[in-house]
Amino acid sequence: MKEPILRVEGITVRFGGLVALKEVTFSVEEGELLGIIGPNGAGKTTLFNTITGAVSPEKGRIYFQGKDITSLPPHKRARLGIARTFQNLRLFSRLTVEDNIKLAMGLPYPAFAPLFSLPSYHKMEKQMSESAIALLKTFHLYPYRDRIASALPYGERKRLEIARALALKPKLLLLDEPTAGLSHQEAISLMEELKELRKGFSLTIILIEHNMRVVMGYCGRLITLNYGEIIAEGTPEEIANNPAVLQAYLGEESLC
């Protein structure tokens, strides 16, 4: 059995008195599309923050490709190939669309290179532009190339954030409510694109979503969080009929 790309073991996070995550344990296989669902405040985003290093857990370990990354700072985890988007869009609003993408490419030449316009500087800048443009084209954002991020319509900004995450050439992509605020049609086309990308970039995706049609239609496996605990794990069908999940959502009409 190949080593799972991500292993989360007994993660507990506490903010003052409030227990945000309690003994959360699960693992993700390479290439999987895992969905995380649960009512508001169940700890979904806190889980993402813990995986990406923004929040340090009180207890528990996190393994990425077999390596223990629990105490790594966020930027090192990103370099290892963990990329994410945010629930409420954290773009670099006064930078151009292209620059937003380039940000994920680190610093490919020595800091002083631009001062003396060394050849390595020109070569790498050209390369960065090319790969950025390629990515923008796949996300149909190329026309907005020189506009500043805050000038884009909402849908386009959502796609830009995902494109920026992909510019990190990640192995694991954490999407925090990617279809939130999108029309049904836009959500479906986004999920189709993500399916293509998963194959193209041999990508593992973890998705936090409230849009049940998206979750049910596209995720291979689902985990349900409630009050910081995993209450159910399984294929979309199993989850749909799981009493604990229904009870957690209380009164929501049947899932499928």
Binding site: R90, F92, K102, L103, P114
Partner: protein
């Protein structure tokens, strides 16, 4: 691309050297105007140094006067007491203020927004009061009789180099990274950028530039005393940056020049009106305050900044 650079790298110093002969000769050109022009250059460097850390990297600093003081005093101490020539003294001032920037940068950069601003203000005052209590640095009455090594040429060459360094960085990936830290530190971290390392670099680089300006200032006025590096000086530097247009580097450079030009222009203007002339210094600061308020509320991006489109 290459030819253009060579022309610039040789052309600018040569033309500055040429102008220097014409402008520094008291019989041809009035030293009073020269004095203003040199101070314009020094203030431009200071405004750019502030813009690099506050406008570009978004770490609001009210302590530039502290680094300027370190640069001024360290270089003056060497040239005055040990007869060290000008260039090594300037390099020493640069390095010392860079080290100071590094030492101050690491602890304070964990702070956010106005806490950071107040910490840098505290740092600036600590430097001023420390110098005040160092008898070897002339204490409260300052260092006098510093050899006048600065000239139009050295100041504007330093300004040219400062602008070249900062603009080259700004237009390339290091600049983008610093700008991303200004825009959203957490997102920048998530994109794999070691935010602390870059903030400390920005702080150190900005401190070095302020130190350079301090060294040039000391060797032009030939007298430095702690009061000319009070936090009011830091506020004046902020004013230049904000009016010029934060985050553009060339904006604050022009802002620095205009702000220096203002009091002299005001002095000539006010000479006719005795009452205003009587307390012209307050009129100058009053005018600054109103100008600052006008810009912040009506045109926050300053003269050269780009309007932020409302998404």
């Amino acid at each position: 691309m290459r030819a253009k650079n060579i022309i610039l790298v040789i052309g600018i110093p040569f033309s500055l050297w040429l102008i220097n002969h014409f402008i520094s000769n008291p019989s041809i050109f009035s030293p009073y105007i020269l004095q203003i022009i040199v101070l314009m250059g020094i203030n431009a460097i200071l405004a750019v140094s502030w813009d690099f850390i506050s406008g570009v990297t978004g770490q609001f600093s009210i302590g530039q006067a502290g680094f300027m003081a370190i640069g001024a005093y360290s270089s003056a101490f060497l040239t005055l007491k040990y007869k060290v020539p000008f260039l090594p003294a300037i390099l020493f001032a640069l390095i010392l203020s860079a080290i100071a920037g590094f030492i101050v940068g690491i602890p304070t950069l964990r702070l956010r927004g106005d806490y950071l601003a107040i910490a840098t203000l505290g740092f600036g005052e600590i430097v001023r009061v420390a110098i005040l209590n160092m008898p070897s640095l002339g204490g409260a009455t300052g260092l006098k009789g510093i050899p006048i090594y600065s000239s139009f040429f050295s100041v504007y060459l330093a300004l040219a180099i400062t602008l070249w360094f900062c603009l080259a960085l700004l237009k390339s990936q290091p600049g983008r990274i610093l700008l991303s830290i200004r825009e959203d530190e957490i997102a920048s971290q998530m994109m794999g950028i070691d935010v602390v390392k870059y903030k400390v670099f920005a702080f150190t680089f900005s401190a070095a530039l302020a130190g350079l300006a301090g060294a040039l200032y000391a060797h032009w006025t030939s007298l430095v005393h702690p009061d000319s590096f009070s936090f009011m000086k830091s506020i004046e530097i902020i004013l230049m940056g904000v009016l010029g247009g934060m985050g553009t580097i060339y904006g604050p450079a022009v802002g620095g020049m205009l702000i220096t030009l203002l009091p002299e222009g005001l002095r000539l203007l006010l000479e006719q009106n005795p009452l205003l002339y009587q307390n012209k210094d307050f009129v100058r600061m009053l005018f600054f305050a109103i100008l600052l308020l006008f810009f912040i509320i009506l045109r926050p991006q300053g003269i050269f900044g780009k309007r932020e489109a409302k998404g």
